[in-house]
Amino acid sequence: MPVIQLCDVVALLGRFPALAGASLSVEAGETVLLQGPNGAGKTTLLRLCAGLVRPESGQAQVLGHDLSVDGRAVRRQVAMLGHATGLYEDLSVAENVSFWAQAAGLDKSLAAQRATGALARMGLDERLLSLPVSRLSAGQRRRASLAALAVRRPQLWLLDEPHAGLDQTGRNVVDELISDAVAAGATVLVASHELDRVRSLNPRVVTVAGGLVVKDTGGPK
């Protein structure tokens, strides 16, 4: 069964149809690159798959859950990286990761265990971990956000322009994260303008424009 099954989905932001009839089918373990001009609807597509945006019409199923009925059931199994960091500025990196892990349902000790691993993977220097997030650079915050998400070991990753604003090291870290996720059997959707970087992962390329999926190098024919 496909991990994501969208058929003619319309999604509104207020009165604006961010998605105007998008269709997409993604199987487990696939890596998908979403490309398209700004305002095309890539972010809304990702947020829809995360169960954050309710479809106005059309069929939308993610991980077996019908999104028009209840988007909440999907969320715990999905990791979404948006434009904002989703971190509490006044808390330290370690405290943030621990909180978000426990919030996702992990018990305290498991959360602590996985947090150490995830933070190391993200290449965050140990000395940064006890600093409040407000003292970190944008790139470091992005990596901390990804660590907080990685702890959950989600089946589906939704990344909205993960490379944006990062330096070379940061970008490498993101690429490694994606490879790790793919190796672990997760499905990854990445919206990015950084076509060259992501192309190295040999993804399926889906072009979004005007709220529709207009081109697709993969998927059912």
């Binding site: 995360a50 954050l52 715990r76 808390l91 426990q102 919030a103 409040p132």
Partner: protein, 224 residues
């Protein structure tokens, strides 16, 4: 039920930890509370005897003004870097988030009430005649306004006008609480001959209704 409480505890301790780090309560709200008492002193231009008579009412008005700040802050913490979306994604029960955030505001209000009591003792010459009533009425009122405030904080959030919309939504609803708490403190501080315990009962009922309604409605309110 256990997981609801543990989730609420997680959220409450997170909010309180943030407060401990940022010290918004101690550095900003607490001085504001004292300032309100001082402003009343200037505005009323009265002798201590008259101020002592009005002290319960002035006390609770000051608490309500601090409540507005506390609720705004609680809401701002979540919207700053869109942690609110993170809370939705994490799958926490909305009722747990509501209870947790209310509990954090409750703790902060109790601290402020302690400070303000010291304030009215010093500035208005009040004295606590019935310590037990002072304690219980203060606790129950704080619970009532913390729960109502958290609910209305969610109602007013995400619209870009939270600062101005929250007061007009929240304060009229709290009118019975202001009336009740003032009368309860009239008794506790010996400012007037009233049955403070009867009023405390009404406040307790308000607190229970507000907490229940809040827990039920919060989920629907934070969804898009």
């Amino acid at each position: 039920m256990k997981s609801l409480l543990s989730e609420a505890w997680l959220v409450a301790s997170k909010d309180l930890r943030i407060e401990a780090r940022s010290r918004v309560l101690t550095n900003q709200v607490a001085p504001f509370a004292v300032l309100v008492l001082v402003l009343f002193g200037f505005a009323l231009d009265a002798d201590q005897r008259t101020l002592r008579m009005f002290a319960p009412g002035l006390f609770w008005v000051a608490v309500l003004l601090c409540l507005l700040l506390a609720v705004q802050r609680s809401s701002a913490v979540e919207s700053a870097d869109d942690a609110a979306t993170g809370l939705r994604m994490a799958g926490l029960a909305p009722a747990a988030v509501f209870l947790g955030k209310s509990a954090a505001i409750l703790v902060q209000l109790l601290v402020l009430e302690l400070l303000l009591t010291a304030g009215i003792i010093v500035f208005y010459g009040s004295s606590v005649k019935n310590l037990f009533l002072w304690l219980i009425a203060g606790l129950v009122t704080a619970l009532a306004v913390a729960a109502t405030g958290t609910l209305y904080g969610a109602l007013a959030s995400g619209l870009g006008v939270r600062e101005t919309l929250l007061p007009i939504l929240l304060l009229p609803v709290l009118a019975p609480v202001l009336i009740g708490a003032t009368r309860a403190y009239d008794d506790a501080l010996g400012a007037a001959a009233v049955d403070g315990w009867a009023w405390t009962g009404l406040l307790a009922m308000f607190a229970v209704v507000a907490s229940t309604l809040g827990a039920l409605a919060y989920g629907a309110l934070v969804e898009d």
